[in-house]
Amino acid sequence: MFSRSYKTAVTVPPLAWVALFLLVPYLLMFCYSFWSVSPAQTIVRSWNLENYKELLHKSVYWETLLRSIWIAARVMLLSLLLGYPLAYFLSFYAGKRKDLLYQMVIIPLWVSYLVRAYAWKTILGSDGVLNTLLQYVHLTSQPLDFLLYSPFAVVLTLTHIYTPFTVLPIYASLEHIPRNLVEASHDLGATPTQTFWKVIFPLSIPGVVAGATFAFVLSLGDFLAPLLLGGPSGIMISNIVVSLFGAAYNWPLGAAISLGMLVIVVSLLFASERLEKKWSFG
């Protein structure tokens, strides 16, 4: 159908792009993770497993990793709890306003991530919008300091930023449910609540899995929200990677951590793909 040269012209550039900017850097990272840094701050290309040993033995690394996973898990859960009802409403009850409301879910994605993170800073800060309001209505006498520079602030911000990423796949999977299945369920005597749990929810699981994966994976690798809003207690694993590649100048250790995260994320993606397939029906 298409000529050979046309096929080549179309496929080679993206393949070259992926190879050059994805595979090669990962390969370099992989090599770095087995190298070390000399006392004179130079990279020594001698192959060893020291970085991985340090990763396992120094509690700061895996504790931060666990905290990151815990933060990402909370973001995932909150995004699902917020995103599912929104997607459900959009798909089943929004009627003529569907398109408009759908756009309103998407529009926040056009606003720079940084702007949204800073917005939370002005909301949550000790003389920020929220604290001023709380004092104004005399709910508190002094600013609440756990609002900003805490895991709470990170979870809140990341939930705000990543909820659209859960709404969209859930909405898509709800839209794919043939409406006559809902009618069939009612016809067979199932109440709307029974219908939701026995038909609608099971058939929306692929969307839930995709949305949960988005929220979790994107949150796990996030470093700006903890940097801006996390404070010392809200540090996440990516902040450590950033500092190892920067000020600490320990690229090999940073590479080892990055590869560890890559393994976690890739296995998650595989698992979620299998789960989605299991719950998809032709």
């Binding site: 009618e183 069939a184 369920s185 009612h186 016809d187 067979l188 109440t191 026995k198 038909v199 058939l203």
Partner: protein
């Protein structure tokens, strides 16, 4: 073969008079400015197989959806016995539906699909198991109980959809063009199976279709719907032999419509003249092709006779449809036994009793 004969006697016999199960009273429905149903009244008897027949856009599916509870009528009421049905949500009505494309739950296997209604009603599990097994046995799907709907054929899905509805022992089963997705052979087979199943379970069926042959084969009565209004409700035999309107006559089978002027008990249409017993004035008559004979010489004495010329023959197996032109230019369709007609010049004749006066069917929209 046994089922074959039973279905033939079913259409031949007249249905026994039984108590009214469902009564549709002056139901109208419009979507915005689009009027889909206007003033439809219809009664369905216990154990009756009633077919709502109509072209696409006639409102037949909307009527069914109003009975099932998926749509609310703009005006009018629906009663089942002494209970008014239309304020009830679909899950409280003792009515079940077989959907056009079956609407089987893709994430549940055949057995779980059939058990769905009983589980929703929270029946004891021993009862569910027994009734599901019986229902699957009745539609011969026991061997496929653990398969997902996507792994079985269209005809099998059809059976599962039936079992899923009937297992709940509804008082009324609604079927929305359930055979339209099947190929011709399977379709004929399912028509017979469906009819014998209906007689066996004794539940009233309301069957929606656009296929007049299907309606004729299966129904106790046919309700013919046109542009949201009922044209005629009658047994298949009556609707065929005594069509009420020109539309009915044309929709069900082939017919010749003769536009005649009646004066003093005589109908005149071109060169044709025959005695009638209808009031004077312009009248439309329906004359079935099989009621016209092609002859070469005069036979019966009271028949209407006109010379004509054969234009075209369409072989249809046992019979043949012949288009013949009368001397005054009128073209009539005649059904004859198959066989080569040797001459072009023929004589067409029919008995006056076979020309049925029908009402005009004015355009509606």
């Amino acid at each position: 073969m046994a089922t074959q004969t039973s279905s033939i006697t079913a259409t031949a016999g007249t249905p026994a008079l039984k108590a009214t199960l469902l009564s549709i009273r002056n139901v109208a429905k419009s979507f915005g400015r689009n009027v889909v149903l206007r003033d439809v009244s219809l009664e369905i008897a216990e154990g009756e197989f009633l077919t709502i027949l109509g072209e696409s856009g006639s409102g037949k599916t909307t009527l069914l959806r109003i009975v099932a509870g998926f749509e609310r009528a703009t005006s009018g009421q629906i009663w089942m016995g002494s209970e008014q049905l239309d304020p009830q949500p679909p899950y409280r009505r003792r009515v079940n539906t077989v959907f056009q494309n079956y609407a089987l739950f893709p994430h549940l296997n055949v057995e779980q699909n059939v058990a769905y209604g009983l589980r929703a009603a929270k029946r004891p599990s021993a009862e569910i198991q027994q009734r599901v097994a019986e229902a699957l046995d009745k539609v011969k799907m026991t061997a496929h109980a653990n398969k997902k709907p996507s792994k079985i054929s269209g005809g099998q899905q059809q059976r599962v959809a039936l079992a899923r509805a009937l297992v709940n022992r509804p008082r009324l089963l609604l079927l929305d063009e359930p055979l339209s997705a099947l190929d011709a052979n399977l379709r004929r087979q399912m028509q017979v199976e469906l009819k014998s199943l209906q007689r066996e379970v004794g539940i009233s069926f309301v069957f929606v279709t656009h296929d007049q042959e299907e309606a004729m084969v299966m129904s106790d009565r046919i309700a013919l719907l046109r542009s949201g209004e009922l044209e005629q409700v009658a047994t298949p035999r009556e609707i065929y032999t005594r069509p009420a309107t020109a539309y009915v006559a044309q929709f069900i089978g082939h017919t010749n419509l003769l536009r005649a002027q009646v004066r003093n008990g005589l109908a005149v249409s071109g060169t044709l003249t025959w005695p009638v017993s209808v009031p004077d004035g312009p009248t439309l008559f329906s004359l079935r092709p099989e009621n016209i004979r092609l002859t070469t010489d005069a036979t019966s004495n009271n028949a209407v006779r006109v010379p004509g010329r054969i234009l075209q023959q369409a072989f249809q197996g046992a019979t043949e449809l012949v288009r013949a032109q009368c001397s005054d230019g009128l073209v009539l369709v005649v059904r004859t036994a198959s066989g080569k007609l040797t001459q072009e010049e023929v004589c067409l004749e029919f008995s006056p009793a076979d020309a049925i006066p029908v009402r005009e069917s004015p355009e509606r929209n």
